[in-house]
């Protein structure tokens, strides 16, 4: 049932999460979480979802195990003339943007990055039921991040700059989630 929040492993970020001591070891991701995620969430710029430690989990783990951010974006070609020549869509393509995804370094080795990614894909698939969305785009900020997303079928569509822009079409997302149940 798409509308049941308990279908997700994560929950929306709360302002107190910012001071939970989350640290992924990557400064820009940690800084964003501490200083910008909650205000940006409040402004609707990007929704932040947080994976919290469950009561039955090891109590030495941090309270926030990981997070990701989601927003909607429209992809348009930067070169209109070339777009027309290549017969690309004349209208912008609506996509979901996974802007950031990070796991606390003290909680590594538990497949939490994978769990966060699948959770994000569930939310995107649910959103695509009511708003137009042709797939998910991620911004991989490092080679390790790019390698992580490649494992889950994202393809690099812009390889000449960092962050790498990567894409996974909605049909592939749906096929995987439908099979996963």
């Amino acid at each position: 049932m798409a509308d049941d929040p308990s279908n997700y492993a994560t929950s929306p970020m709360e302002p107190a999460d910012a001071s939970s001591g989350f640290r992924s070891g990557t400064h820009p991701l940690d800084d964003y979480f501490r200083r910008h995620a909650a205000p940006n969430d409040a402004l609707g710029i990007g929704r932040a979802y947080v994976l919290r430690r469950a009561p039955e989990q090891d109590q030495t783990l941090p309270t926030v195990l990981g997070y990701y951010t989601l927003s909607m974006a429209f992809v348009a070609s930067s070169d209109i003339a070339e777009a027309i020549e290549r017969k690309l869509p004349k209208y912008p393509l609506p996509v979901a943007l996974i802007g950031r995804l990070a796991v606390d370094e003290r909680a590594r080795g538990r497949r939490l990055g994978e769990r966060l990614l699948v959770d994000a894909l569930h939310r995107i698939a649910d959103a695509a039921e009511i708003v137009g969305c042709v797939g998910a785009i991620v911004d991989a900020k490092t080679e390790a991040a790019e390698a992580f997303y490649v494992k889950y079928d994202f393809k690099t569509i812009q390889a000449d700059a960092w962050p790498r822009r990567m894409f996974l079409p909605m049909q592939t997302i749906r096929a995987a989630l439908d099979e996963g149940g």
């Binding site: 997700y8 927003s71 690309l88 959103a127 009511i130 569509i157 592939t172 989630l177």
Partner: protein, 114 residues
Amino acid sequence: MRFEATIPDSRGAAVLQLADELGLSRSQLIDEALALFLKAVIEVRKGRRLVTIPGASTEAACEVSSPTLAALEWASRSEKLELPSAAVEKMQQMMVQPPEPGKRLRAAAKRHGR
């Protein structure tokens, strides 16, 4: 008008219990719930946020959301990504011929399924 819907058993049980507690018929309860949801959608489409405010304490306000409301909110605040034509072309190719999910993605979806 008559509606029929399939909802999880747990929610159905909660609806029946609440209708009983409040002395409402199921129709009255569903009608009021839908009116609230419609109002929530209208407010979110206007760019407003839904919060609950504690009555007499200094506790923080708590935001109310659901996957549907969150999706509407994302859609209303879209940013524009300008990509080179070659990148848009790659996206288009993948949309026209979507790759089958690989082993790893399938296994991940299964591990973290609902």
